[in-house]
Symmetry: C2
Subunit: 234 residues, 2 copies
DNA sequence: CGGACCATTGAAGCCTATCAAGACTTGTGG
DNA sequence: CCACAAGTCTTGATAGGCTTCAATGGTCCG
C-alpha cells in the first residue's frame, strides 16, 4: 500500500458517505477539516467564475484530501462514485505532524508527489496533443489504481483493463479538451488498436508499449519520476 | 518582503554567479544542494525527450530553488538574466527545518504557494485562450515582481511597467503556445489599448482593470488566492 | 417500456500552428 | 562611433487540429 505514516491520524476517525456529484470541499470554504479517502473516487477541480473548470486530479483510496496553505481551500473536491471518507480536524493533523518527525516527513513527501503530478499535468496541458493527453490519462489512472491497490508487478493482468468511472465531460475538463474531442480521441486510439472500449467506463489496454510511447511516458515511469507510492492532489 | 524564515539557512552561504542560459539544476541530477535566488531571474521547466518544453515558473529574488521529494530533481532550472544564487547542502536545510518548527511551517507554506501557482498554471493551460494566457502572464510577472520587491500598494506606479526579460520563446513555452502566437497576442492586447510594448522586454499596462477582467484574475487576487507573500516553483 | 442522459459521429468554423519573409534589436568588431 | 551580422521579433499566408453546433445512437433508470 502506502507508507504515508501520517495517515494514521485517521485511524478510528468518523466517516462520511458521499454520493456521486456531492461536494466534500468547495473552493473558498473554511479549511477546518481534512480527510482520507477510504473508498470510491473523488475529483479535484478548480472552477472559474465563468464556469470553465479544470480538473486537477482524481483521488483513489488512501489519498489525502485537504491540502491548504491557509485556512481556506482553493479548489473543489467532489465524489465521482459513491465514496467514503474519514474525517479529522486540521488541528488533529497538525498536532500529529508536529509531534512526530516521521509523520511530518511523510506528509511533506506526499505534498511533493502531488506537486509532481501537477507538473505532469501542466506538461500535458501545455505540450501534448489530444490523443497523447488521452493516452496519458489512461496510463495515469492505471498507475494510480495500481498504487492505491498495492499491485506490485507492473504487468499484472489486473492492470490490463482500466476503470473510468468519471464522465467524458470530466475527462475533457481534466485534459483541457471538449467531450467530443475526447470521444474522437478514444475512437482514434481504438482504430490504432492501442485500446478497446468496454462500455463507457472501462478500457482494455491492447498495446501497452505503444500506448506508453504515444504518451511519452518515460516522462512518467522514468528515473525522473518517483517509484511506487500513493499520492493525489488535494 | 517575505516571511520565509527558513531562508535564513542561506545567511552567509557561498554564492554562485550564473550567466543567461546557464543551468543551475538539470532534471535527473542529484539533488544534493538547494539554493536561494539573490539577484536576477531564473526559469523552471520540464522538457520531454522529443524536445518539447513546458516552462513551469519564473523565479524572483528570495525565491527558493530545490524542491524535491527524492534526491533527484524532476525539473530544470536555468538563468534568464545574469543571476546570483546562495548555495547550501540539502542536509543543512533539512537540519534547519528539523530543529525549528517555525522554519518547518514556513517551508511547507512555501511549498503550498508553489502548488497554488501550479494549479493556476494548469487552469490557464487547460482553459484559457491565447490572449487570456498572455494577460495572465503579464499580471503574474507583475504580481511576482511586487512580492519580490516588497511593494506594498497594488497600484504603485512602479508596477505600471512590467519587465519581461525572457524571450518570446520562453513565454510561449510557459503559456503552451508558439512564439508567433505570443507575438500576435501582444499585438492584439496592444490594439485593444490594454498594454503598450516598450522595446521587446517591457510592457506598460494601460488598462489594469480590463486586463484583469480579460485574465479572469479574480482567480488570482480573490479570496481563493493567498495574499502578499513570495513564492515560486522549484 | 419509455424517457432522460450520456456518448458518438458528422459538418462547418475558428483558433492556433506552421511555413516563410521582412523588420528590428543586440552585440561585436572595425 | 558606426557598420555589420546574428539572432529575435513581428507579420503574412496557409494549413491543421480542436471546437462548436447538430443529430443519431446507446445506456441507464424510473
Amino acid at each position: 500500500m502506502t507508507d504515508d505514516s501520517f495517515l494514521d491520524v485517521f485511524d478510528g476517525a468518523p466517516r462520511r458517505r458521499l454520493s456521486p456529484g456531492e461536494c466534500l470541499v468547495t473552493a473558498g470554504a473554511q479549511a477546518a477539516e481534512v480527510f482520507n479517502l477510504v473508498e470510491g473516487m473523488l475529483m479535484v477541480s478548480r472552477v472559474g467564475r465563468d464556469g470553465r473548470r479544470q480538473v486537477l486530479s482524481f483521488l483513489f483510496p488512501n489519498n489525502f484530501v485537504g491540502l491548504s496553505a491557509t485556512d481556506t481551500y482553493f479548489f473543489t473536491v467532489e465524489a465521482v462514485t459513491p465514496s467514503v471518507v474519514a474525517c479529522r480536524s486540521r488541528r488533529a493533523l497538525d498536532d500529529r505532524i508536529a509531534a512526530d518527525p516521521l509523520a511530518d516527513r511523510a506528509f511533506i513527501n506526499m505534498v511533493f508527489r502531488v506537486l509532481e503530478n501537477l507538473v505532469d499535468l501542466a506538461y500535458s496541458l501545455g505540450q501534448r496533443t489530444a490523443r497523447e493527453r488521452l493516452a496519458v490519462c489512461i496510463l495515469y489512472l492505471r498507475h494510480r489504481h495500481r498504487l492505491s491497490s498495492g499491485i506490485a508487478s507492473d504487468d499484472d493482468p489486473q492492470l490490463t483493463t482500466v476503470d473510468l468511472p468519471m464522465s467524458r465531460s470530466d475527462i475533457a475538463d481534466f485534459l483541457g479538451l471538449k467531450k467530443e474531442t475526447v470521444s474522437r480521441s478514444f475512437t482514434q486510439l481504438e482504430d490504432q488498436s492501442l485500446i478497446r472500449r468496454i462500455g463507457n467506463h472501462q478500457v482494455q489496454i491492447l498495446n501497452l508499449p505503444e500506448l506508453r510511447e504515444l504518451a511519452g511516458v518515460l516522462d512518467f515511469a522514468s528515473p525522473l519520476r518517483i517509484p511506487p507510492n500513493a499520492s493525489g492532489v488535494a
